[in-house]
Structures are given as structure tokens and as C-alpha cells.
């Protein structure tokens, strides 16, 4: 860790055009060669601060010093020229381009009208990937790649530009535990090479593991900076949230009841025609959380879509409360008592350009309680319902008529959970329910799932967060290439065993 800061931000204020004061005079110091953690709840201003550092936003007030020199960034081009690169919270990839073109975009080489020298770029990239042991397929459109790989492409994009400072905005939110491990290995290696890294997260253990120092911000202000070696998760959590948080989940034992969801020999095809789900059979019983763990892209998405009526299964059947619901459209399933918290909240769970109220009744719009008469929505009643959800779930929203996109991701997720639960379902299907959600909301959502289980509902939980599955599930299936490697009780196996099953080794083989 060098003595002179490579980067300094002083008194940064940011007021958005709509009047939101996102940053209220933030100071930040980054030293050469360190990994600095930036910790804060949803909406604390982390992204805003980093976008300013990257030239994507212009500060309302404040100064930025790069290597001791005051600098103004008009655009990311200036930041990149100064050796600062950023990997965004929401991926900024051109989905129809392959990785290679995404990476070289803007750095294609000489001559706007000359042919892109693909071979040269490929060579450089291959070397880069080998050095870091960090591989991505270069010729597949990125939209066809799993998120974990997309994440790597984002990082490679910056490394390709030889940046000295790498900003990573919540890079682990969408990664599987294995991928997180790999990422951390790479980041540590980069640090050894002398790169400086700013790492944003709300996951305390990650920050504890990776960083040298941590700066905590809350509501646009810096709460403090600590050396990681001197910090504890509890301390950081308190700094971040402003109160003590319980990171433990209380789960009383409970005898499960009748099977609510029964999946029998289900086969589902993926988008590219492959067999994504290969003959799965399982039950979820009343008063039980059945978890599905596994590396993402092993058929979880297709399984959930098939159960929830969004994708036609090839073969097999699904029963809800004894009724055959195979291939039935979502509306019928909701009427039959199913609720679904989808993995992709911005593209599926919510309609971002619609209001909070409209989103709060999405999937319940035909319910009698919101009708003036048959087919006519009574918005008054719908709004009352929305206000109730907002209060009950402590959702922070500008108003019921505000577009839902003006809510932070965590609050958006809470709104989805609130809405789905308000369907009074017998079965809740929760897919990645806490992805990208801050600690407090995560805690809330997890506890709520337990509450539902305690009330006797059946819960099917899919999560890439292994801790989450282990903590919440009564039973869990470990999925690999569309098949269960084992269905176990979390307390009966070790994390290592689960990890091996996620890697494709069957439980029976493990026990041999």
C-alpha cells in the first residue's frame, strides 16, 4: 500500500435532476495497490459515487484528484484515459455481440474504416485470460452466456484497457459461490500485479475476506473507514445500517404436512433446444421449504418456468394440491394458489414503467376485491391494497402513483414479495429472492419465507446463494445439468459435500 493516494474525492455532492440528493459531500481516498471495500445499503449512494469517479455522472460539487492532480472527467473516455475502469452493477454488454467484440469495443485499433484486426485482439485476450486463468468463450453472443461469464467479460473489458484502478459495483450479486471464489482469486492476483481495486458490496463476509480497507457510506454520507483487519462483520453491519442487525435466521422445527406441489418426471427444453431439465421428480409439502441449490444455468430457470406455466414441458407432469396443472397458463395457477417470486425482477417481476400500484396488482388484477364491476378495475381499492403492502413490508417508495422504477432494487424486490404473498397462496415459488438486495431487506425476506412455512405453506426456493438455501431449507435438492445429484436435509451434509454435488457428483457416489 503506497503512501500517496492514487485517487482522492473531496466533498462530492450529487443532486439528481429530479432533486434527489444522492451524495452529500463525500470524501474518499484510495491508495495504490489496495482493495478498498465500499459498503452501504441500497440507495446509499455507492453507485452514484463511482459513476462520478468514472465520468459517467458529473458531480454537483466536489473535486477529484488522480495521482495528486485535480482532474475533471467529461465522460468515461477521460476516466479510461486516466487508467480508471468500472464494472457496472447492471451489466453494460451489447447482448448481440460476442465477447470479443464487447471487449474491444472502443479500442478496436487504428483507423475507423479499416477492418477490425480480430486476430490481434484475440491473441492479446487469450494471453490475458491465460495469465489470470479467467476464461470466457470469445465467439458466442453474450446473451447466450450465463451471467457469471458475462461478469467475467465485463472485467476483461476493463483489463483489456490496462486500467490501474478497477471499480467493481456489486460484482458478486449474480455469481455462484464457486464463481465468487474464482473472482476473488483473480482480484487478489490483480492486486499482486499492483492494480488498485474498489469493491462494492453489501455482503459483509465478502468484504471481510477480500478487502484491505472498508469505507462505509449511508444515505449519501461517509460513516467511516476502517482497516479490514481491525473490523468485524457486526461492526460493519452497524455502521452500514445504523443499528444492530441479526444475521441469524430463526427456524423452529416443524413437521411437514401433505404434499402441495408434486413434480413427476419432468423434462423441459431450454432456449437453444437442449434438455435443460431431465426427468426431475420431487415434492414440496405444506409447512416445508424445499430448496434447490446448484450452479446457475443447470436448469433452475427452466424448471421454475415450467412449473409456473411460463414454459411448456416436454414430458412429465406437475400437480398442485393433487390437481394436474401441467402446461396450464399462469393465471390458472395463481387461481389455484400459486405465488411466484421470479428471479429476474426488472424484466419479469415488475413492469418498470408502470406505477407502484399497477405493479402491486400484477397477477391479481382480476381478483374480485379490486373490481368495480366485472372486468373494471377499481383503482381506489387497488391503491389501498398497495398502501397496505407498503406499510406492512416497510417498502420505501415515493408514492403509489410513482413509477416502480424509481424504487431501489431492494424495495422493488420487497414489493414483489409483498404482492406475491398477498395472493394468499398455498405454494410460494421463490427464485433468487434476495439477489442484489441489501442486508436488512435480505433479512426481512428470508424471515418472511420462514414465516410462510411456519404458517403451513409450501415454499420452493431456488437460490444461487448457497448459504441461503442451507439456512432456509427443510430439504434441498442439488441440481446439476437438469438432474438432482441428491435430495438431502441440510443438516445431514457438509458444505463440501454440497459443493461436490453441485459439481456433478451424485450423493450415492459420495457416500460410497
Amino acid at each position: 500500500m503506497g503512501e500517496t493516494p492514487i485517487l482522492e474525492m473531496k466533498g462530492i455532492v450529487k443532486v439528481y435532476p429530479d432533486g434527489t440528493r444522492a451524495l452529500k459531500g463525500v470524501d474518499l481516498t484510495v491508495y495504490q495497490g489496495e482493495i478498498l471495500g465500499l459498503l452501504g445499503e441500497n440507495g446509499a449512494g455507492k453507485t452514484t459515487l463511482m459513476k462520478i469517479l468514472f465520468g459517467m455522472l458529473h458531480p454537483t460539487a466536489g473535486k477529484i484528484y488522480v495521482r495528486g492532480k485535480e482532474t475533471r472527467f467529461k465522460s468515461p473516455a477521460d476516466a479510461l484515459a486516466n487508467g480508471i475502469g468500472m464494472v457496472h452493477q447492471h451489466f453494460t454488454l451489447v447482448e448481440v455481440f460476442d465477447a470479443l467484440h464487447n471487449i474491444i469495443l472502443g479500442m478496436e485499433g487504428h483507423g475507423m474504416f479499416s477492418k477490425i484486426d480480430v486476430d490481434k485482439a484475440r491473441e492479446k485476450l487469450q494471453r490475458l485470460m491465460e495469465d489470470l486463468n479467467f476464461k470466457v468463450p470469445l465467439d458466442v453472443p453474450v446473451e447466450e452466456l450465463p451471467v457469471g461469464v458475462q461478469q467475467r467479460i465485463e472485467i476483461l473489458k476493463m483489463l483489456f484497457r490496462d486500467v490501474d484502478v478497477l471499480i467493481l459495483d456489486e460484482p458478486t450479486a449474480v455469481l455462484t459461490p464457486i464463481e465468487v471464489e474464482e473472482l476473488f482469486a483473480v482480484l487478489k492476483k490483480l492486486k499482486e500485479e499492483g492494480k488498485t481495486i474498489i469493491f462494492i458490496s453489501h455482503k459483509l463476509n465478502e468484504v471481510m475476506e477480500l478487502t484491505d480497507r472498508v469505507t462505509v457510506i449511508r444515505k449519501g454520507e461517509v460513516i467511516g473507514t476502517v482497516n479490514t483487519s481491525e473490523a468485524t462483520p457486526q461492526l460493519l453491519a452497524r455502521m452500514m445500517v445504523g443499528r444492530d442487525v441479526v444475521l441469524r435466521i430463526q427456524k423452529p422445527p416443524k413437521e411437514p404436512g401433505e404434499p402441495i406441489l408434486e413434480v413427476k418426471d419432468l423434462w423441459v427444453k431450454g432456449d437453444r433446444g437442449e434438455d435443460a431439465v431431465r426427468g426431475l421428480t420431487f415434492q414440496v409439502r405444506a409447512g416445508e421449504i424445499f430448496g434447490i441449490a446448484g450452479v446457475e444455468g443447470n436448469g433452475q430457470t427452466e424448471l421454475i418456468e415450467a412449473i409456473t406455466g411460463l414454459r411448456k414441458p416436454e414430458k412429465g407432469s406437475v400437480f398442485l394440491n393433487g390437481r394436474d396443472i401441467t402446461g396450464k397458463p399462469p393465471k390458472e395457477l395463481y387461481d389455484a394458489g400459486m405465488a411466484h417470486i421470479p428471479e429476474d425482477r426488472t424484466h419479469m417481476g415488475l413492469i418498470l414503467d408502470m406505477t407502484v400500484t399497477e405493479n402491486a396488482i400484477l397477477g391479481l388484477q382480476w381478483r374480485k376485491e379490486f373490481q368495480r364491476w366485472k372486468g373494471a378495475i377499481d383503482w381506489g381499492k387497488a391503491k389501498k391494497h398497495t398502501v397496505k403492502l407498503i406499510e406492512q413490508f416497510e417498502i420505501s417508495a415515493p408514492g403509489v402513483d410513482a413509477p416502480v422504477k424509481s424504487l431501489s432494487g431492494g424495495n422493488q424486490q420487497k414489493l414483489i414479495v409483498a404482492r406475491e404473498v398477498s395472493k394468499e397462496p398455498v405454494l410460494v415459488i421463490a427464485s433468487q429472492p434476495t439477489r442484489g438486495v441489501d442486508v436488512a431487506s435480505t433479512e426481512y425476506i428470508r424471515n418472511y419465507l420462514i414465516k410462510l412455512r411456519n404458517e403451513g405453506k409450501a415454499v420452493l426456493l431456488v437460490s444461487a446463494d448457497l448459504d441461503e438455501v442451507i439456512q432456509l431449507s427443510d430439504r434441498m435438492g442439488i441440481i446439476y445439468e437438469g438432474e438432482f445429484m441428491g435430495v438431502v436435509k441440510p443438516e445431514d451434509v457438509t458444505t463440501e459435500e454440497i459443493g461436490m454435488m453441485m459439481g456433478g457428483i451424485r450423493y450415492e457416489e459420495l457416500k460410497k
Binding site: T20, L310, T357, L362, Q371, G375, I377, S406
Partner: protein, 350 residues
């Protein structure tokens, strides 16, 4: 709590209204410059324009009469736009609505029957584009442009052939008197205008106050989420085409059944041509909101109704009037004009 409200649930969007008004004002201002450049007096021109459009009962009646068909074709565009579809097929459905009125009122001289058949044929003609979109993935811009041309030649053939008026081959057979839309008061304005306004309000109600419309709008913004929300986006798309077709078909039927003196389609379809396209502009100026469209249509109607006096009084040729209309429409496209002007004023104060 921030006061950022979306326009979805509100009856009126004040800011959008002000913005449209400012745009129109700026458009007139730029138009005035053009007039001056060509040596015409803007004051006189606009005086005669407004006098022609609003200065008499007749003027007002023409303004509203002009606004009627384009209000309906604008609805066609807006309904689809709200369902995520760029449907420019209003033109074709309009032709079919018109010919349906001619054909069926001559079978049974009943006004309601004529309107119903107009709506039916308009809806039917919208189906090919809908099915091509949903089942073959054909982009609606291609299909509707092609179908408009096909409708044009097909209806042209009906007009000049089977349904030509034997006594006056320059038009089709006429709508029988029993099926003509009643006129309002002592004017040439028929109840078509009222029906169009009702259709707009119903569309508004449908889109914003029914489960059905909710599903359509959801599909338009995010089909994936709509599907998740229990809506079948493909059905929503088909319905948006169909309801759009109904509106244009109704427009076409009323154009023939509700406009004295001809009550027939002219040869060359001169009295039914182009109204579908005009509707796109109306819809956009009305911000794809059925209630906004009512006012936008009346505004366009004014520009049309005012032109004769403008030509006579200020001796401005029709072409210049089109230029001014073009400028006004372009100005309407300048976004945040309201904010721009507000900012400019603030800067002035500081």
C-alpha cells in the same frame, strides 16, 4: 415523498398539456417567420385561420367534422402503441369500414347495422397483420404498409366495379337516407363526432380502467412481465389490432354515412384516402392518450377548417399552410419544451 407522478392513472397530465400548448405556440411563431419570409402577414394569416376554424357555427362544425375520422384512426395507432405495436394499418381498415358501410346499408338501410359492419370489416382487415405478427413474427411495419396498399387496390376495384353508382359512376352507390347519421342542429356536423368522442373515452376507460386494458398495456411495456402477470401477450397484441381495426372501420363507415352531401365513396377513393396516416400525427401529438387525442384531433381539424379563409383572406397558398403545419408538428416533437423554457427564464432572472 417525491411528486413524480406517472400519467397513467391520472385523468389529465397537466405538464403534457402545457407542453403541447407551448409546442403549438412555438410552431405558430416559427410559422410566422416563414410567412414573413415569403411576404405574407402572419397576423392576418392567423386571424383568418382562427376566424375560419372557430369564428362561426359553421366553422366550428367543420373543425369538429374534420377531427372525427382522424380521432378514430389516431385511436387505432394509440391502442397499438400502448400494446407495444407500431400499427400503421389504420388506413386499410378505414377503407374497409367505408366500403362496408356502402355495401351493407344498401342491404339493410339501418344506421347501426352500417356502423357495426364497418367495425366488423375494419376489425377483420386488421387480423392478417395481427396473425402474421403473432404466429410468423412478421414486423407490423412491413405487414401494415403492404396490407394498406392491398386494401387500397382491392377497395378501389370494388368502388369502380361492383359498387359503382350506375347513375353517377363517379362514386359508389349512396348510403340510403335511412342509414345516414343524423346531423347536429343546423350544421353539417353529424353525430359521428359524438360517437368518436365516446369511442375515445371508452378507449381510455378500456385501457386504464379494465383488467383487459391493464393486460394490454402491460404487454406493450413488457411482454415477459405481462405473461408472468397472467396475461397472454399474443392475445393482447391480437386484440389491440382488432380494437384498432374496429376504430378505423368505424371511422371509415362514419366518414361515408355521416358527411353530407355525398354519402358515397368517390372514385379514386378521394374522400377516404390519407386519414389513417393523418391519425398517426394526431396520436403522437395527443401522446397516445385517448383523451389527449380528442384535443389533438380537434386541433388538426382547426388547421384544416381554417385554411379556406386563410387562402381567401390572407391569400396564402395552401402549400404554405402545409409548411406551417409541418413546423408545428416538428415543434411538438421537441421534448421538455416546458423545462427548456422554464430554464431559459430562470437563467434570465439570475
Amino acid at each position: 415523498m417525491k411528486s413524480s407522478k406517472s400519467d397513467a392513472l391520472k385523468f389529465f397530465n397537466f405538464k403534457a398539456l402545457i407542453e403541447s400548448l407551448i409546442a403549438i405556440f412555438v410552431g405558430f411563431l416559427l410559422g410566422a417567420i416563414v410567412l414573413l419570409v415569403f411576404g405574407y402577414s402572419p397576423v392576418e394569416t392567423y386571424y383568418w385561420l382562427f376566424k375560419g376554424a372557430l369564428g362561426s357555427t359553421n366553422g366550428i362544425a367543420s373543425t369538429l367534422a374534420y377531427s372525427t375520422p382522424i380521432m378514430l384512426t389516431a385511436l387505432t395507432f394509440a391502442i397499438s402503441a400502448r400494446t407495444g405495436i407500431f400499427n400503421i394499418g389504420a388506413e386499410g381498415s378505414f377503407y374497409f369500414g367505408a366500403i362496408a358501410a356502402v355495401i351493407f346499408t344498401n342491404i339493410w338501410g339501418n344506421m347501426w347495422f352500417g356502423l357495426a359492419m364497418g367495425m366488423l370489416l375494419g376489425a377483420l382487415w386488421s387480423l392478417p397483420a395481427a396473425f402474421l405478427k403473432v404466429y410468423r413474427g412478421v414486423h407490423e411495419v412491413i405487414s401494415t404498409i403492404m396490407l394498406n396498399w392491398i386494401a387500397w387496390f382491392f377497395v378501389l376495384w370494388l368502388v369502380v366495379g361492383p359498387y359503382a353508382n350506375p347513375n353517377d359512376p363517379n362514386k359508389t352507390i349512396r348510403i340510403p337516407e335511412s342509414a345516414r347519421l343524423p346531423l347536429i342542429g343546423n350544421t353539417d356536423l353529424s353525430i359521428a363526432f359524438i360517437i368518436a368522442v365516446i369511442a375515445s373515452v371508452l378507449t381510455y376507460y378500456l385501457l386504464w380502467h379494465t383488467v383487459f386494458g391493464f393486460g394490454m398495456r402491460a404487454s406493450g411495456i413488457n411482454p415477459k412481465a405481462a405473461r408472468y402477470g397472467g396475461v397472454n401477450p399474443n392475445k393482447a397484441i391480437i386484440w389491440s389490432f382488432v380494437i384498432g381495426g374496429i376504430m378505423s372501420g368505424l371511422g371509415g363507415a362514419m366518414k361515408i354515412m355521416g358527411e353530407p352531401p355525398t354519402y358515397a365513396i368517390s372514385q379514386g377513393m378521394a374522400n377516404v384516402y390519407g386519414l389513417g396516416f393523418d391519425g398517426i400525427g394526431v396520436a403522437l401529438v395527443g401522446r397516445n392518450h385517448p383523451l389527449g387525442i380528442i384535443f389533438a384531433a380537434i386541433f388538426f381539424g382547426m388547421l384544416r377548417a381554417g385554411t379556406p379563409l386563410m387562402q381567401i383572406g390572407a391569400q396564402v397558398p395552401l402549400e404554405i399552410i402545409k409548411v406551417i403545419q409541418g413546423i408545428i408538428v416538428i415543434t411538438v416533437a421537441i421534448p421538455g419544451l416546458y423545462d427548456l423554457i422554464k430554464k431559459a427564464f430562470k437563467r434570465g432572472e439570475a
